[in-house]
Amino acid sequence: MANETNSASSTAAPLLQVRGLRKAFGAVRATDGVDLALQKGEIHALIGPNGAGKSTLIAQLCGELQPDAGSIVLGGEDVTALAAFARARKGLSRSFQITELCPDYTVLENVVLSLLLTTGRAFQAWSNPRHDPTLTASAARWLGEVGLDDRAGIHVRDLAHGEKRQLELAVALARSPRLLLLDEPMAGMGAEESARMTALLNGLKRRYTILLVEHDMDAVFALADRITVLVYGKTIFTGTPDEVRSHPEVRAAYLGEEAC
């Protein structure tokens, strides 16, 4: 159900089309008229200073926050008014900047949960999903991908911070989403894990469409096809990594000396 995009239309029209999105908290305009288009199969990075409104934008895309104005179109369908769970069922998946997992479940169960909620048979009250070989095998495979295979039976509450971050990614990836929103997936991971996740995401390129929010510039420049820069709720620039790297305004507002 997740990946049935009409291929003919998807090459032409973007998978995600955001127009004029606005959200204010009192006097703070966290999202101030954002336009954004994601093509199917691209990794599109969203960068910007702290408090620029990236997480707020993601929250509106996934349906946790209702925008004040603007529209969100996913695969040709206007989803602006849909609740978060309904959007998730339409193939949207996200990771959280501040880890959100089920602490009393094991690592594997967390992934199984993610998978079983894509099957459309989640409201079934008899069989035990932990004994379902397709679910567990697929979940175990994803744990392998993020490097947590030896932690499968551990309760999430006993994991180290970095390991939770890895699991956070696995849970989001496992659903084979149509559109993946990643909010700082590398934050809290060590250098090795960051590199590993970068490689993993690189391998998923073209198969997955990803909106990537990240402050780890190595990862961003290694992965992104295009980069949008958000400052004070407004997009100031969209372009290829090279263009962004050399853009003076971006360097002043965000990168500092990093790009050298």
Binding site: N50, T56, Q97, H161, G162, E163, R165, E192, H215
Partner: protein
């Protein structure tokens, strides 16, 4: 300043620390680095008294810390920026900074104004409740909160997680000048290159032990170490 000797500890049934050894001289900056889940945070928590030490000693300026409660450790001058920010969500930015503040011993100490000058972003958000801050803003707040206790020893556990590059640079700059003022610093972070100019010593942690220690230059020279223990 701080000496950690043969420290062991862990959670409930599982042991995590198997004899940590390191020290930080007064006015020095040292790091704990290593892969995920190797026990860096556990070391910090044990140091702070948030977890009981099962063996070994932690001595701060001649005082044994291992039996003290966290607030007593903090009052000896240890300021903590915890992993995962842990700001007080229902307090405003201002209250977060003021609630646990302690008066500086010298005129040059940290005050509310000085913290807001370091992080202008926080000044803009003064009355906002900390729960609704962006991830990076929360991180700034956590650092500011620790500074407001005017510590002698500052412990930063992944304090730059989620911060934009520009801010990260500012923080490293700031730490450098703090060090110059005589503050002792322990950093846990993954940005080796960015840290290099601040640090006197690295400690690589592997499975609850320090397996190697040396200056940043020595570490740079030994690429095998970085590969073996840090996976780079």
């Amino acid at each position: 300043m701080l000496t950690v000797e043969a420290l062991t500890g862990g959670y409930g049934g599982s042991q995590v620390l198997f004899g940590m050894d390191f020290e930080a001289g007064a006015g020095q900056a040292v790091s704990l680095i290593g892969r995920n889940g190797m026990g860096k945070t556990t070391t910090v928590r044990t140091l702070m008294g948030m977890l009981p030490a099962r063996g070994g000693r932690i001595v701060l300026q001649g005082t044994l810390l291992t039996t003290l409660a966290p607030h007593a450790v903090a009052r000896l001058g240890v300021g903590l920026v915890p992993e995962g920010r842990r700001v007080f969500g229902s307090l405003s930015v201002e209250e977060n900074l003021l609630a646990t503040a302690r008066r500086p011993s010298s005129a040059k100490g940290w005050t509310f104004d000085r913290v807001l000058t370091l992080f202008p972003r926080l000044r803009e958000r003064r009355r906002q409740s900390a729960r609704t801050l962006s991830g990076g803003e929360q991180q700034m707040l956590a650092i500011g909160r620790a500074l407001m206790t005017n510590p002698l020893l500052l412990v930063l556990d992944e304090a730059t997680e989620g911060l934009a590059p520009l801010i990260r640079h500012e923080i490293w700059d700031c730490l450098r000048s703090l060090k110059q003022e005589g503050l002792t610093i322990i950093v846990i972070d993954k940005n080796l290159t960015e840290m290099a100019s601040l640090l006197d010593r690295h400690h690589i942690v592997e499975k609850g032990r320090v397996v190697w220690s040396g200056t940043p230059d020595e570490l740079r020279a030994r690429s095998d170490l970085a590969h073996r223990y840090l996976g780079i």
